[in-house]
């Protein structure tokens, strides 16, 4: 896909963006950590006219996982004789008193894995209970659902179900009167699964351009250009820049598998608050896979944001990492205060590493 990185195309796209630039402040939000990586790695913000602002949304699954879920994971692996599996970035996110990595250093059996199938493999080889701390947006959820369906007879496996959905979060942000968003770059890989449909209603109801974008630098610039063009024509709609990977209807098999296993619920997003219909829970038929129900321990509410940390404002597009007084001073990737400084897709981590 070299053409999506080639410099002459980048320059031509920038030229075109400058030509169509409406010269007033335009705020385009993305909701994907990988888009933030592309922006930072290729220095795209500096190439764009200053009035065109590309702002971060809640696009990092690790960053939006609530502290109560982390505290629950820590409690369960400390108190019960279980193996807890988790994805790498989640391992180091601070809970109220400690992180999973600190809990492991005190002897708890916490294991970092790369795919859900590894957790299932561990469960097959042990008598112990294996609990997977299951986070992720629509890109990741179908895999979890498919492993659960394939291993329905497995007796010692469950998940802490922390899955969240992106379009309800976009809807929520668009409904907030104090957040200004002129258009969205929709997350390419979430869209390979969900397709166009969920964004359509948002583009119509809120009259905002939505462009599904890929992850090479020219993908992102082309997405910006498509949004500006829609604004100029005053015809907000959903468009797909990432046609090489996103089909109109998404991946129907993945959607079906996901819908078989999960139902929709309201969910708290760290630093943002409860967003209606933005979470997934295991359906009753699959209750035995739900760690909360299986162990009869309820997730208790914890305080999500440490005093002073601006993660919440950053993920709502109302602040940038440099606005936080702790950024790079007492909060660094080595000693993070908020999850946004831990996750490789967190806005603070990315800004720290690329500035």
């Amino acid at each position: 896909m070299l053409e999506f990185r080639d410099k002459p195309t980048t320059q031509a796209l920038i030229k075109e963006i400058k030509k169509i630039n409406p010269k007033k402040e335009i705020r385009i939000m993305h909701v994907c950590g990988t888009h933030e990586m592309t922006l930072a790695r290729w220095g795209l913000r500096k190439l764009l006219p200053r009035n065109i602002k590309l702002i971060c949304g809640p696009g990092c699954p690790v960053c939006v996982t609530s502290v109560s879920e982390i505290d629950f994971a820590i409690k369960i692996v400390k108190e019960k004789n279980v193996i807890l599996t988790t994805f790498g970035d989640m391992f180091r996110v601070p809970g109220t008193n400690s992180s999973l990595s600190e809990t492991k250093s005190h002897g708890a059996d916490v294991r970092v894995i790369y795919g859900i199938d590894e957790a299932v493999k561990i469960a097959r080889k042990t008598e112990k209970e294996v609990i997977h701390f299951s986070i992720g947006f629509e890109t990741t959820t179908p895999m979890i659902a498919s492993e659960i369906l394939e291993n329905e007879t497995l007796k010692n496996f469950s998940i802490i179900c922390s899955h969240r959905l992106i379009p309800p979060a976009m809807k929520y942000l668009l409904s907030c009167k104090d957040i200004e968003i002129d258009g969205f770059i929709c997350p390419g890989h979430v869209s390979t699964i969900i397709g166009y449909e969920p964004y359509k209603i948002l583009a119509e109801n809120f009259a905002k351009p939505m462009v599904i974008g890929g992850f090479e630098p020219n993908d992102v610039l082309l997405s910006v250009l498509m949004i500006l063009r829609q604004m100029k024509n005053e015809k907000p709609k959903v468009e797909n820049e990432y046609v090489r990977a996103v089909k109109d209807k998404g991946n129907i098999i993945a959607q079906k598998i996901m819908n078989n296993v999960f139902g929709i619920c309201d969910k708290g997003w760290r630093g943002i608050g409860t967003i209606p219909n933005s979470g997934l829970k295991l359906k009753n038929e699959f209750a035995k896979f739900d760690a909360e129900r299986r162990f009869g321990i309820k997730i208790k509410k914890s305080q999500d944001i440490k005093p002073g940390c601006k993660c919440g404002e950053i993920m709502k597009g109302k602040a940038v990492p440099q606005d936080c007084p702790y950024f790079g001073k007492i909060c660094t990737p080595e000693r993070p205060i908020g999850a946004c400084m831990v996750s490789i897709e967190g806005a603070c981590y990315i800004t720290y590493n690329y500035s």
């Binding site: 896909m1 053409e3 999506f4 195309t9 031509a12 796209l13 075109e16 994907c32 950590g33 990988t34 990092c60 699954p61 690790v62 994805f87 970035d89 790369y114 795919g115 859900i116 199938d117 986070i135 992720g136 947006f137 890109t139 990741t140 179908p142 895999m143 498919s146 997350p187 890989h189 979430v190 390979t192 699964i193 890929g214 020219n218 993908d219 082309l222 250009l225 498509m226 063009r229 820049e241 990432y242 046609v243 090489r244 990977a245 996103v246 089909k247 991946n251 098999i253 993945a254 598998i257 996750s343 897709e345």
Partner: protein, 69 residues
């Protein structure tokens, strides 16, 4: 976390495929994209293929840009 990487399918054995990520070979599950064949490119996320990549359509987004120009 939603990162997905393109790979080429080299061998298929029922639900599994051996894929090539520009030199690095790995086994993945193709249960979400059962239509794929040897030689196809797929996007791989967390050990699963999530969508077939259409090379012809890859050119298309640049064509969108072309028509804009």
């Amino acid at each position: 976390m939603c990162l997905a990487v393109p790979a080429k399918i080299e061998k298929i054995k029922d639900k599994y495929a051996l894929v090539d990520f520009e030199g690095l070979k790995k086994n993945i599950k193709i249960i979400l994209t059962p239509e794929v064949k040897v030689g196809d490119y797929v996007l791989v996320h967390a050990g699963f293929s999530i969508q077939k990549i259409n090379k012809k359509e890859a050119k298309e987004s640049l064509k969108i840009w072309g028509t804009i120009r």
